[in-house]
Symmetry: C2
Subunit: 131 residues, 2 copies
């Protein structure tokens, strides 16, 4: 439960790490998280949940690998929303920016099936509390 309002700009200013989401609100058994984005994330899949993205600033791309192996990239700008369906292999990347995500509490940033090693600049986490 949120006792008082949380401003997204202030939340983003409270940390600098990229791909290391902070939980700005909890509702039911879901988290609202914000993250700075820069560089390549990692190919991963969430078997059991869709994942909602809203771009707050900059640009955020999501490479999608279809079941047939075909890849395409969704390019997102501020104000753009996109849902990656459960079970869909995807890899975010960004020249720099910030995003808001909505996902079930406990969902890992790297999903439950990662292709390859997790790069050092990607935090494998279910989100951190704001401090």
């Amino acid at each position: 439960m949120t006792a008082k309002p949380v401003n997204l700009t202030e939340a983003l200013q409270s940390f600098t790490e990229v791909y290391s989401p902070r939980i700005v609100a909890r509702m039911n058994d879901y988290d609202v998280r914000v993250a700075h984005t820069r560089g390549e994330h990692v190919w991963h899949t969430h078997a059991d949940t869709d994942e909602f993205f809203l771009v707050l600033d900059g640009r955020f791309d999501i490479a999608i690998r279809e079941a047939d192996g075909h890849e395409h990239t969704v390019v997102l700008h501020p104000g753009d929303t996109y849902v990656v369906p459960r079970g869909t292999e995807h890899k975010p990347s960004s020249p720099g920016g910030s995003i808001l995500m909505f996902e079930p509490t406990g969902t890992l940033t790297t999903g439950d099936a990662v292709a390859g090693e997790i790069p050092a600049h990607v935090d494998s986490t279910a989100g951190h509390d704001l401090v």
Copy 2:
């Protein structure tokens, strides 16, 4: 599932009605909705769900009536997020603006317990699809 990105600004420009949410994305059994806000909403309660608000533009106030009858108002500006806990009687109002909401699919704008008549400018709906 969202097949392609939906931009929140374009979504809001596609309709003018206040307090009549449009569904911009679906993820799992939740909706992401946007709405224009202006004037007084109505006191209501969602018994079974929290409700997440993000102010996109303008100002959005949420009057909260505690279980002991005490009332206070949360004043929200762009970028502010707030969660109204389930079972909490609340009444939004706004001098004008727009908001984003997360809530379970099927959640009514007027909840499941309304105090008094629903004003004509408030649409009692589980959200409309974008057209």
